[in-house]
């Protein structure tokens, strides 16, 4: 009895913690590094300091700055290398895209291309219930922990009908983290094959998209499996992942 009373007391104390997202978007701290904004009109001619500073060659100078979010680690090297302030981070957490090309931000006037929804048939299949199997393929556990965080009471992934499941045979798709190491390639392929058709592949984090800091010849999931959604970051914030998943399911039109 005493224990039951204490359970109730603790429950009262801890309160209701689930985020109001997506009705309102929580404020990110000033230093949060979300979607980069480029102003290459500030670039002096023949300057390639940011390109040289980038640890993953995410930046290419070719008549303006082209920044590949799929390679970007959202570190501070390019910002620190540029006295003109041509690259800065905004606190915009929305980063996911449906194609590899849509992850490249080119120049000042680049429009923000957010992930499009699945087609009508796929939405009718997965829109109200999406089961995913996560496969860690050489990830440092940074991305995996943010996926796990989606299950906590703050983000509460379950309220959107999305759930991580134990078996690929129960899944509608796989969600891959890590650069896909040689020793995990076979296990990743087998897991993918075990998922019934039609199925989705979601690449989470710089490593899964491009190899990240472990980039070699053809790192990332894209060289092995057809990817339906890319969610950049190192690791992506839980809301960045949630944003990508909900856009894919057509639950976040506009905004």
């Amino acid at each position: 009895m005493i224990n039951l009373w204490n359970v109730l007391k603790a429950r009262m104390r801890q309160g209701h913690r689930t985020s109001a997202y997506p009705a309102s978007i929580p404020a990110f701290p000033e230093r949060f590094r979300g979607r980069p904004a480029i102003d290459d009109t500030k670039c002096p001619t023949d300057c390639d300091a940011c390109e040289k500073s980038c640890p993953t060659q995410a930046i290419k100078i070719d008549r303006g700055i082209h920044l590949d979010l799929g390679r970007c680690l959202f570190c501070t090297e390019c910002v620190d290398s540029c006295p003109e302030g041509a690259i800065r981070y905004t606190t915009d957490h929305r980063l996911a895209a449906r194609t590899r090309e849509a992850l490249v931000i080119s120049g000042k006037s680049a429009e923000t291309r957010l992930a499009e929804a699945l087609d009508k048939k796929m939405r009718s299949l997965f829109g109200r219930s999406l089961k995913l199997r996560q496969v860690a393929a050489g990830d440092c556990s940074g991305c995996a922990l943010e996926l796990q965080a989606l299950n906590n009471v703050v983000f509460d992934l379950g309220r959107f009908g999305v759930q991580f499941v134990a078996s690929p045979r129960h899944a509608d798709g796989i969600l891959v983290t890590g650069p896909v190491t040689r020793n995990m390639t076979l296990a990743l392929q087998k897991t993918y094959e075990a998922v019934p058709e039609p199925k989705l592949v979601i690449a989470v984090g710089a490593c899964a998209i491009s190899g990240g800091p472990f980039r070699g010849g053809d790192s990332g999931v894209g060289g092995i499996l057809p990817v339906d959604l890319y969610i950049p970051g190192c690791p992506p914030h839980p809301l960045t992942i949630l944003d990508g998943l909900l856009r894919l399911l057509g639950k976040l039109d506009g905004a």
């Binding site: 640890p55 496969v135 050489g138 990830d139 556990s141 995996a144 991580f164 190491t181 040689r182």
Partner: protein, 493 residues
Amino acid sequence: MTMDALTARNGESFRTVDVPRLPADRFRREILDSVARGLRISTYFGFRPGAANTRLLCVLADDSEKTLSVLSCEPGGRFESLTPDCPQAHLFEREIAEQFGIVPEGHPWMKPVRYPDARDSIPGDTAFFSAEGEELHEVAVGPVHAGIIEPGHFRFQCRGEDVLHLEIQLGYQHRGAETLLESSPAPRAMAVAESIAGDTAIGHALAYCAVHESLSSGAVPPRAEAIRAVALELERLANHVGDLGALCGDVGFLPSAAYFGRLRGEFLNLLMDLSGNRNGRSLIRPGGVRFDLTADMAGDFSERIGRAERDIASAADLMFETPSVQARFEGTGRISERACRDLGLVGPTARACGVPRDVRSDHPHGAYRSARIPVSTIEGGDVYARAMLKHLEIARSISFLLSQIQDLPAGTLKQPCAAARPGRMAVSLVEGWRGEIAHAGITGESGEILRYKVKDPSFHNWTALAMALRDTPISDFPLCNKSFNLSYAGHDL
């Protein structure tokens, strides 16, 4: 001290030529004698510059003297294994054999560690220790597990429900981190260091920077040292709090599982306020830190940490007083103090066996040199002890944090870090949330990194999980596994 080893302090660099090169038998005897005196192997690795012979370097930690002993030998193609007389060497010797092709003769279980070479098979495709008998059966799990967790293969030999023996085969996460740390330009190497184990980005970044600062004789401003310690404790708090929640989840006690799950995020969010990233990436850089903890932030941090402390107390009190939780924790996955010392276990795992081993007080670095954190220990070595130990450490970590935040030294955040000096070696130990992280760097004639060795605490402690499972029902595996919460990526590198 004997002349058979060079003595250094944590984070001190020395000339590589000053490390004594002993004949193989004296090298072996010296290590055995030292371990018998209470020292432990902190890191032990091979080094082959160019076409020269492979040199073995062993770093022994003397926790009572607060020193490190470094010794070496060039054994040729074979050497007598330490493992039969000194079990804590077992995985280091397997690693040396895998990386340099020299054979520790007499090693009782000589297998590859990570299968790094494309010519090899992959980790699971190998022989495992097996037992045979009418009532015995084998259970194989992994590499892909049921949950959001890293890959590894677990092979259980069982009699009925009870585990006789567990063999853990890792290597699936191997990315070649050491090679990248040796060969990459500075910004990329820094990113790799932060990705050795993503939940220990601060711990490994600290060890990496300390090696480079030491090799270049760079100093770190006191304010930066304090901010580094704040970040390291925030990382510890996020993970310890998350672990308590996950332990509750594994025994089906959902109220505290939910509360701790949310509270873990509070500490990650503090790291995000400080560094712009929930794991604290980009905060720690050679020579100091990239971001300041302003006076305004300090006030806000203290208030939020205070609130979290009270909520943690409520969730933890509930957890530890609940009989169904106690019944599942007590006596489960026990490790003896003797096994702990023999296997050279580190971190909370060792401290939960009553062994007071903590780099923050044994080999203090940075801000821990002046501001001490008392070492927590608890007897028992079971899941309960490991959970209770984390609970105690959370409280001590919070009081350390609050005092640091309220009294940050003034001054700059960063000093330029010069190029590394040639022909030197540095070893840096950091008490990450899982235990002792050891990084070692050796420079060549022009100051370039010739060898970079990383040891995550998991490298010692995975064997503890295998030991904990002996004579334990296999259904307790998830609970035991979570009570250690070891890093696959940190082991596989």
